[in-house]
């Protein structure tokens, strides 16, 4: 399940939903991304996140489908926030449950890495009165291509 929303999310509730996926689940891997205080610029006080409604969900569903073909994925959950976010806010949640831990780790990390380079989100960093669009990092492209 994929949700793009302005509201905050509750990783505890998401974890519980993954855990309730049945007795064959032996492993739950989760990732949560937070707004850090050191982005492209020093002194970042917040972010503004824009996305391409409709395409975002399709791209992420495609990543979950790819992950499900490569690994045992019993359930996958992705939440991504958009709009104005402050320092320390939660931005993104990816959770995967599998029979075995290797699958849950790999699928969770793959979805997260691929989301960073292929899901149509754009981040603007806010620093006091100024703001600027974040440039894509070469390291993110490299991490995503490492899965090919």
């Amino acid at each position: 399940m994929i949700t793009v929303q302005t509201d905050d999310f509750d990783p505890a509730a998401e974890y519980q939903a993954l855990r309730d996926s049945g007795a064959g689940t032996g492993a739950i891997a989760t990732f949560t991304g937070l707004v850090r205080d050191s982005g492209d610029l020093q002194g970042v006080t917040g972010l503004y996140l824009e996305h391409y409604p409709g395409m975002t969900e399709q791209v992420i569903q495609g990543l979950i489908d790819q992950a499900s073909q490569r690994w045992d994925v019993r359930k996958a959950r992705v939440i991504h926030r958009v709009g104005r976010l402050d320092l320390c806010d939660q931005i993104v949640f990816v959770g995967v449950c599998s029979a075995h831990r290797g699958d849950s780790f790999a699928a969770c990390e793959f979805i997260m890495d691929a989301l960073k380079t292929s899901a149509p989100f754009w981040k603007k960093e806010i620093t006091g009165d100024t703001e600027h669009w974040v440039e894509q990092k070469a390291s993110d492209r490299d991490r995503s291509q490492a899965w090919d």
Binding site: G33, L49, E50, H51, Y52, G54, M55, Q58, V59, H80, I91, V92, M112, L115, K116, T117, S118, A119, P120, F121, W122, K123, K124, W133, V134, E135, Q136
Partner: protein
């Protein structure tokens, strides 16, 4: 949307710098996304960046596409900077 036109959408930095969220263009035969980029870039000013040094990503009907991807009337074409979510 007329079946004679296609929609072009812009996001993030491009949307701001072009001061345009979307526009309608006539859908001529054998049109590609690259043709649209070239036509828009020829407007000059901020539009030049559509064929500049910075990469422009392309989607057709909400799926990633290339400059060689053909487009037709009714399609939704989008141009945007490399994505930076997560």
């Amino acid at each position: 949307m007329s079946t004679e036109t296609l929609t072009v959408r812009f996001f993030a930095r491009l949307r701001e710098e072009l001061d345009t969220e979307s526009l309608e263009l006539p859908a001529s035969p054998n049109l590609t996304t690259g043709d649209i980029l070239a036509e828009l870039a020829s407007r000059g000013g901020p539009w030049s960046q559509l064929q500049g040094d910075q990469p422009v990503m392309i989607a057709v009907n909400q799926a990633m596409a290339k400059p060689s991807t053909p487009v037709k009337a009714g399609d939704e074409v989008a141009f945007f900077p490399p994505v930076t979510g997560g």
